[in-house]
Each structure stands twice: as structure tokens, then as C-alpha cells.
């Protein structure tokens, strides 16, 4: 039911964990539907994502999309990262089973929240 890419990211997820001195953190999902994704960002002076990590509670699709997005945006500017959509993440994984498109395909939303959190932190510092 899952593509090879999804299984690869599920079994060997990239960038799992926390960033202790993260300057942006975003979380989406809730326990009711059974998916929670948290993304940690380390954005540098040039607004480039220097490091990104995630923690996810959820099914294989939730874990794989989280892992995939970290791979997609690491080293990218935050403006480029913001352009990534949930749909693109799913496409990069060779697609997701239809029911998973809604409930477990939230990685771009988590990333967006993390970037917004970074921007809010920055604004406070100024």
C-alpha cells in the first residue's frame, strides 16, 4: 500500500530528533486523529535553513512525509522552503494512499509553523 520511497523514509528516517538551540519550532496535528508532527529549525543569518529535525507520532505516512520534507528544505532559504506544499512532499514520495493524503500529510504545515515561529522570534529580538 505504501511506495518504496515511503517505506525507505519510514525505516530510515532522515533528521530525526530535536535541535537544542532551535530558533524555530512548529507543531501540527492532534492526538484525536493520531498524528502529531513537530519540526525544529536552525535558521542562520542569511535566512537559510542550516539544520532541521523532526519528531513525529503517527503512521508510516506521517513519519515518511516528515522525514522527506526535512531532506527537501535543508540548506534552502526560508522563502524557498515556504513554497513547499504537502502535495509536493507526497509526490516526492511517489504518492500516498488516498486516505492518508488528508490526515497524515501535514509536514509542510508543520514546517510553515516552524518558520513562522522563527520569524516571530526574530521580530521579538529586533
Amino acid at each position: 500500500m505504501y511506495t518504496e520511497q515511503v517505506m525507505d523514509h519510514f525505516t530510515n528516517p532522515r533528521n530525526v530528533g530535536e535541535i537544542k538551540d532551535a530558533n524555530g519550532v512548529g507543531e501540527v496535528g492532534n492526538m484525536k486523529c493520531g498524528d502529531i508532527m513537530r519540526i525544529y529549525l536552525k535558521v542562520n543569518e542569511d535566512e537559510v535553513i542550516e539544520d532541521i529535525k523532526f519528531r513525529t507520532f503517527g503512521c508510516a505516512a506521517a513519519i515518511a512525509t516528515s522525514s522527506k520534507i526535512t531532506e527537501m528544505v535543508k540548506g534552502k532559504s526560508i522563502s524557498d522552503a515556504l513554497k513547499v506544499t504537502n502535495k509536493q512532499v507526497a509526490e516526492e514520495l511517489g504518492g500516498l494512499p488516498a486516505p492518508k493524503m488528508h490526515c497524515s500529510n501535514l509536514a509542510a504545515d508543520a514546517l510553515k509553523k516552524a518558520i513562522e515561529n522563527y520569524q516571530a522570534n526574530r521580530a521579538k529580538q529586533r
Binding site: V16, M31, K32, G34, F57, A60, A62, P99, C103, S104
Partner: protein, 388 residues
Amino acid sequence: MRKVYLDHAATTRLNEEVLKEMLPYLTEHFGNPSSIHSYGRKARAAIEEARERVATALGAAAEEIIFTSGATEANNLTIRGIARALREKGNHIITSAVEHHAVYDTCLALQKEGFDVTILPVDEYGMVSVNAVADAITDKTILVSIMLANNEVGTIMPIAEIGKLCRERGIPFHTDAVQAIGNIPVNVDNLNVDLLSLSAHKFYGPKGVGALYLRKGTRLSVYHHGGAQERKLRPGTENVAGIVGLGKAIELAVKDLEPKANRIRALRDKLQEGLLAIEHTKLNGHPEQRLPGNLNVSILYVEGESLILSLDLKGIACSSGSACTSGSLDPSHVLMAMGLDHQTAHGSLRFSLGVDNTEEDIDYVLKVMPDIVARLRSMSPVYQGGSK
């Protein structure tokens, strides 16, 4: 890689002896049981022999057995058939919150059609209380349907007592015995039931065939229309090979039931002990009144589908009540009815053991499980190291 099948509540492997009895009825004895010639008579005789076997296994009379395509059909036939037959007498139906969808959803459908349906709650172990049934019965009650053993958590209901109550009030009583056959004794008189559903593939028989036990004198309306087969209650040319398989499978299932169940229970208990030794785990279902092969545990801080896939990669097959595996956005209605919170329900795993499982199977699961749990927890945002 080692393969370990621990999903016998979903389905079982066809027994070789059963297959052997079925095969001639797919080839040389292909006749239509309704035909008068020798081909037909051969098939008819096989069906009647299977009917005897099912009846004997249940302590019933042969004419009380109606073959169906499985328990789903038997359950629908019961609920719709009784509802229609007794509509004049009343419109109240009692069932429980932990029934299989084949009962649960059929009752909900009747509710939409104007029937008054009481869905009894269960306790934290998934148990229906006899008193709750007694309190729910009214003058308008025309059917009570409570499963014998739950398919997710294995809880065994007080069916004999509920049956006694219904009998005293003259209300037809149905039980879905799908998960019980071959695991615990099932006798229609001891259980005081008027209708009982079963499905062959849950006890090493073929898929797509089952039966409804219908106590003599119990009224049931025709639901499908067609030929005169199965007393017109289940018209259509019979699944001869399947019915033959059901007959053989149930005969084998009830043979040496106790030693088989004891062996499976011992393995289950070992698995249970080993899994509950993992931190932050919880048993779901009744600690004692439970099917011998059932073990449903919640592994906190991780999600069931991830667990199943991880186990599958190690060759282990089991199931979960998490939303991701229920095909809907909600976790299992059974676990929710037992009052589990969402996280505990999402992290549930059901292992169901069968006759072919060995001690080595259990050792293997217990060997691979801790690493799988640790890996998924290390990814989980809701897990804070060792602390709850």
C-alpha cells in the same frame, strides 16, 4: 526471515484435511444441489452432512442451521429478518457498543429506518452487564443481540445469563459467536440463544461461508428473494464446497477444544507477560474473561500502524485499533467504548494466536519488540524518555 502469523482473529489458514474434503466438490461432484439427478443428489447429500456436523458442534438440530456467505450475512439476516418479522410486536432492539460492524451498523441502519435502538455501554474491560440488558428491555423489545466474544479485545460476555433473561421475557436473543467457535465451548442450549452467527474462515475453514443457527419456532422474515434454498431464508445456489469445508472445519474445531485452548492460552500468557514488561504498556480487554488466543495491548507514545508495519518488516503479522488501520479517521469504536483515551487507542496492537503458533514464535516477537518500540518512541514528540 522467520514468519509469524498472529492475526487469527482476522482469518486463519485453511486446514489441509478441510481442503481435502472440499476439493471433490469443486471438480467431479459439481452438481447443483437442487437438481434431482445423481450429480445433484451427491451435492445435496454433502450439504446435509455438513448441516449435521454444524448442528452437532453447536448442540442444535440440523434443521436449525441455515448456510450463508459468512457471519456478515447471518448477522444482517438476523437483525433485519427479526425486525421485519416482529414489527407488529414492537420496534425496540438492544445491542452493545462493542459489536462487530456487521451487527452494529445494521442496527444503526434500522435506527435510521425508525427503529428504537439501545446501544448498551461496556465497562473498561469491554464487558456488557446483565443488569444493563435487564434495565433496557421494554414491552416493545423484539431483539437482543450481544456478541459472545469480542473480536478486538477478546472479552467473553455473560451470554448464558443474558439469554436466560431474554427467554423469561420471550424476546429472541442473538449472539455473534464468530470469534468463539473453536476457542471456547459453544452450545446453543447452554447459552440460551435463539440465533447464533458463525463464519468458517475464523476456524481454519474456507472464506465466504458461514451459518446462522435459528432455534425452532423463531420467526424470521425473508430478506433476499429467490429460490427455495435454505428454507427460502437464504436463496441462491449453495456454495457446496464451502459448506462442505465449514462442516469439516467445525467438526475439527470443537475436537479436543480444551487441550488446544490451554496450549494457546499458555503461549498467549507468555506473550502478554513479555509485552507488558515493556515500559508504558497496558492490557486491553478483560484480564480473565477473555478468549485464550487474544492479546490486545496498548504501547503508549507510538501509533499502531507504525508498529504493525515495523513488525511486518520482521515477518510478524498482527493488527491494531488505531485510526490508520480502521480505514476511518477514528480509532476502533470498541476501544473508545471501553473508555480508552485517543493515544492509548491509537497505540493498540492485537495479537491473536492460533493452533500453529509455537513457543519459538512468541520468543521471536518478544525478541524484536523492544527495539521496534524504542525506535518509534525515539521519534515520538509525546515521549519524554522514561518518564510518563
